[in-house]
């Protein structure tokens, strides 16, 4: 008796241990994927930073001995373009020659030029050219050292006074500088953003969301951690922002893996991000084949697939009837079997095949859909 109980105990113990080991294996599999994809993405961003010199000539910093005084003289001739002035970073688009000239200075030179701009009575007379000149200087400073530009914005009352009577750092330029910082160092950008928490009106909610989107492109796990700490009401919009902000499949893949890891215990939030990520199916610019390939590469679990049933069923709504059946075949193969899946497929293919019962039956058989049963379910549902 005791021996039997002992054997049973060992078996139960082994079963439990086996299950734990299985879960651990799955977890490790996911984690091993993340650094792989993450490393690819980081390498891509690194390449992005390094290859700018390929065609960057006019805006590359030169060592031709240009002085801040010379550049200041050129700024004095700034004129308002036809159609009105753009303020904020957009000013660089309207004053490209001035921008080009300022970018020839090193950090020290830019600092000197800024002092000249603040004290310039000539520029003050040609409103708003003093602000525009200061903005161009700050863009150049951020290009050279985002940290220096951030410190300048938050600590230099003279600069802020040009833009606001209450000395609040300019939201547009703060966002620009922090986003620039996030390109090189997302964590530093985040820390800097947090330094502004005690400065009222420094960054509005939209700017914070955009910055988190920028951080997420570089380090999705970091952005997810930050969003997890936000109040419920803010989380949804931030999750959507970072999902929409992903520009390449590689970035989307890394976000997917990060979400799988970080939001494992929060299915509602996981669903939200995954749905937004899968919104590309409504996007006719991405070919269906590319989107399918990307989805298949993710190795989604059945539960994850079910979370994105809604956006994925758009695959059945887009395109013309010729590709509809092909899309339905893919959808049926990709999604785990369920009445909901079959119902969605039937809803879409009935307009195309409903007038040909034989084709309809044949197609349903091919997809493994029990047409009669589904119709009964539909009737009972009605």
């Amino acid at each position: 008796m005791k021996t039997s109980l002992a054997c049973l105990g060992i078996l139960i113990g082994a079963l439990l241990l086996g299950r734990w080991q299985g879960a651990r294996l799955g977890h490790l599999d996911n984690r091993i994927e993340y650094p792989k994809a993450s490393r690819t993405m980081k390498a891509s961003h690194r390449a992005e930073r390094e290859d700018r010199s390929d065609y960057r000539t006019k805006y590359a910093r030169r060592t031709v001995g240009t002085t801040s005084g010379e550049v200041y003289e050129r700024l004095l001739s700034l004129k308002a373009p036809a159609g009105g002035n753009m303020m904020g970073p957009g000013a660089a688009l309207q004053h490209r020659e001035a921008m080009e000239a300022i970018l020839q200075l090193d950090l020290k030179g830019i600092g000197e030029l800024m002092s000249l701009v603040y004290q310039s009575k000539k520029l003050a007379k040609t409103f708003p050219m003093q602000q525009i000149a200061a903005t161009l200087c700050l863009i150049a400073m951020a290009d050279s050292s985002p940290d220096a530009a951030f410190a300048h914005l938050t600590e230099n009352k003279e600069w802020n006074h040009l833009f606001s009577s209450d000395h609040i750092p300019d939201d547009g330029m703060l966002s620009y500088v922090l986003a620039r910082m996030a390109v090189d160092d997302p964590q530093r950008a985040l820390d800097s953003m947090r330094k502004l928490e005690n400065t009222p009106k420094a960054l509005n909610d939209d700017s914070i969301r955009r910055l988190l989107g920028q951080i997420a492109r570089r380090d999705p796990a970091l952005a997810l951690d930050v969003i997890a700490e936000l109040p419920d009401a803010d989380r949804k919009r931030n999750y959507q922002m970072i999902s929409h902000g992903m520009e390449s499949d590689n970035e989307r893949t890394v976000l997917f893996l990060s979400v799988r890891e970080a939001l494992r215990s929060k299915p509602a939030e996981q669903k939200l991000v995954l749905k937004t990520l899968c919104d590309r199916f409504g996007d006719s610019q991405n070919s269906m084949a590319e989107s399918r390939k990307w989805l298949e590469s993710l190795g989604m679990t059945d539960a994850e697939k079910n979370l994105v049933l809604d956006p994925l069923c758009r695959v059945l709504a887009e395109g013309y009837s010729t590709s509809l059946l092909d899309n339905a075949r893919w959808f049926a193969k990709f999604m785990p079997p369920s009445d909901e899946r079959d119902s969605l497929i039937l809803q879409r293919i009935e307009p195309a095949l409903g007038h040909e019962p034989a084709s309809m039956h044949s197609f349903c058989r091919e997809l493994g859909i029990d047409l009669e049963r589904m119709r009964k379910i539909e009737m009972s549902g009605n």
Partner: protein, 634 residues
């Protein structure tokens, strides 16, 4: 003399002294074995039980050493419990019992038949004795201690122990008597003396002595048990071990993956990453406007320096690339921006010739480019624009936005874009171009055209008026012409600017009515948040109409107020409050009738009733209320 039990037990507990345990085992193996044997009647089982009891002793030695109960009493009780447990498991008990009883080697020393009958019940009977009585009997008969020795151990007098021993024997006699075994005290004493002092089987001692070496719970196990447990462990252990090996492998890979320094790899060597092409880098940099302006400007400048052929080559590469939509849209827009700035017509032709129709249909930037391009072209040279449109009409018709948009979506868009310039340069051609569009879409598009071309219309609206008159039936024509009010209201004095408009062009009476009504609406709506503001606005509007010597002023004011109510539901209450004082504002019955006929059903019965009651003609009041009621019922 052998050391006392307590010393041996403590020696075993403290230092796992094998000799000590062996001493205890030798001392009590007889008691244990024979107690078990008597209880079970099976020598094999009794040996098992004896081994188990010694195992329990080894396991619980520290507990026994701490307890108050003398060792023999504890052993006797434990043996009984283990024996009972063994008996429950062994159904052979009764069969074996007889065999035991028949075995001469195991018979009691006494030959008395009554003693033989008593043996199976003896230990159970001893076990039912009170603890102190049992202790005295076992110390006397098992340990063979004299009464003074027992007295010394228990802290009593020898006489008291002797008396207690006798009482215990009497109790035992009575217990056995109740079980149907009648024994005299003499036989009982003689039997106990023989039975309890028996030595255990010699074979047991070495086996038991080894127990002292280990104190684990699996000290004593049968070979079969070992085999069963071993097999189970083996069966479970192998897959678990293999799985654990996989986990260790993955953990090691993860450590390597996370620890590998990024710097040790060149970007292009990173797994799955190939060096981006120039086009991809340009596209990516064009998306960096929000965070890296110098980089964005570099990309813009680089594209601006490309030849037309290079731009077209990049366009083709963009379409076939696997870039994301955001990247594709960015580069696509910039490439065509360059062509657009060089030559609009050539840019548009390139767009339609090089870019597939389905790509244009799904691209925001391509769509915007097409629309802006045709507008610009028609604005600069309407004839050229019309010729280009006719030449490319088939291609334009092949562009589909998506299934949810009508097939002619892009064709209509292009027609409206053409009218953007043609309305001014060639109104007849504009009418011809716009005629295929549905009336509803046309009214909306021409309203938008008015808003987007305000400066030009302010200079000359003749073409626009001509297009509206030729394109629409009467009502829509008047309302479209009246849109011009919006253009002229940009001036500071609204009424004065409309006066200028009315003097500048020859409008039909119906068009003038529509313009006056539109002017009234533009004037009344902003003031209609409260009754006071509304009253003032009505008075101003009425005064302006009087200055223009307009006919049917009251009706015009009433209808305009009705339109105001309909166009903005929040104005209902202020208009109603103002109209309750219509007599003070100088408004007559026609104003009330105009309001009720236009917006009576929207004001509702509660507001319409009091207003109708103000009419001087009760018949007209009844009639208008009936109309409202009928309209509401419908």
């Amino acid at each position: 003399m052998l050391p006392p039990d307590e010393d041996l037990l403590n020696a075993f507990v403290k230092s796992h002294d094998e000799q000590a345990f062996r001493g205890l085992a030798e001392r009590y193996s007889g008691l244990i074995f024979h107690t078990a044997l008597r209880t079970l009647g099976d020598r094999t089982l009794a040996e098992d039980v004896a081994q188990r009891v010694l195992g329990v002793l080894a396991k619980k030695a520290s507990h026994v050493a701490r307890g108050n109960s003398p060792l023999p009493a504890w052993l006797h009780r434990t043996t009984i419990l283990e024996a009972k447990s063994a008996r429950r498991m062994e159904s052979r008990y009764h069969r074996k019992k007889e065999a035991i009883m028949r075995a001469p080697a195991d018979s009691p020393a006494s030959d008395d038949p009554a003693w033989k009958d008593a043996l199976p019940h003896l230990d159970a009977a001893i076990d039912t004795l009170p603890e102190s009585d049992r202790q005295v009997l076992l110390l006397h008969f098992v340990n063979e201690l004299t009464f003074p020795e027992i007295a010394a151990r228990l802290g009593k007098s020898a006489a008291a122990v002797q008396k207690q021993s006798r009482r215990a024997l009497e109790k035992l006699q009575a217990i056995l008597g109740r079980r149907g075994v009648a024994l005299s005290l003499a036989i009982l004493t003689a039997g106990l003396t023989t039975e309890m002092a028996k030595a255990g089987p010699v074979l047991l001692i070495p086996a038991l002595s080894t127990l002292g070496k280990t104190t684990t719970s699996v000290l004593v196990v049968k070979k079969t048990t070992v085999a069963a447990l071993g097999t189970t462990l083996l069966l479970c252990g192998i897959p678990l071990a293999r799985q654990q090996a996989s986990i260790s492998k993955l953990e090691s890979r993860l450590r390597m993956a996370t620890a590998a320094p990024l710097e040790s790899r060149t970007p292009s060597a990173a797994r799955g990453t190939k060096s981006p092409s120039l086009l991809e880098r340009l596209a990516r940099d064009l998306n960096s406007k929000g965070f890296d302006m110098p980089r964005y400007l570099s990309a813009v400048d680089h594209i601006a320096g490309l030849s037309d052929q290079e731009v077209v080559a990049f366009v083709k590469e963009t379409i076939s690339s696997s870039m994301s939509k955001t990247e594709r849209e960015a580069i696509f827009a910039q490439l065509f921006q360059v062509l657009f700035e060089r030559d609009v017509e050539s840019c548009l032709s390139t767009l339609l010739d090089v870019v597939p129709a389905d790509y244009i249909g799904g691209s925001q930037s391509a769509g915007d480019l097409l629309e802006n391009g045709v507008r610009t072209l028609s604005e600069h040279d309407g004839v050229k624009a019309l010729a280009w449109f006719r030449e490319h009409l088939e291609t334009i018709r092949s562009i589909r936005k998506s299934r949810s948009f009508p097939a002619e979506y892009w064709e209509n868009k292009m027609r409206v874009a053409l009218a953007y310039g043609l309305v001014f340069s060639d109104p007849s051609a504009a009418v011809e171009v716009l005629r295929p569009l549905p009336i509803q879409e046309l009214t909306s598009e021409l309203s938008q055209l008015v808003r987007s071309r305000e400066p030009t219309l302010r200079k000359d609206a003749t073409g626009f008026i001509q297009v509206a008159r030729q394109l629409f039936p009467e009502k829509e024509s008047h309302e479209t012409v009246a849109e011009l009010v919006g253009v002229n209201l940009a001036a500071n004095d609204k009424f004065q600017s409309v006066d200028v408009l009315l003097e500048k062009y020859e409008f039909t009476p119906a068009e003038i009515d529509a313009i006056l009504e539109k002017t009234g609406k533009w004037h009344l709506e902003p003031a209609s948040r409260e009754a006071d503001g509304m009253e003032k606005a009505i008075s101003e509007f009425r005064a302006w109409l009087e200055s223009r010597k307009t006919d049917d002023i009251d009706r015009l004011v009433g209808e305009t107020l009705g339109e105001t109510v309909l166009s903005w539901s929040r104005t209902g209450e202020p208009v109603y409050q103002a109209m309750l004082r219509c007599r003070e504002l100088g408004l007559g019955d026609d104003a009330i009738l105009g309001l009720l006929e236009t917006a009576g059903f929207s004001l509702g019965k509660e507001k319409s009733g009091p207003l109708a009651a103000m009419l001087s003609n009760p018949e007209a009041a009844r009639e208008v209320l009936l109309k409202i009621q009928h309209g509401n019922a419908r």
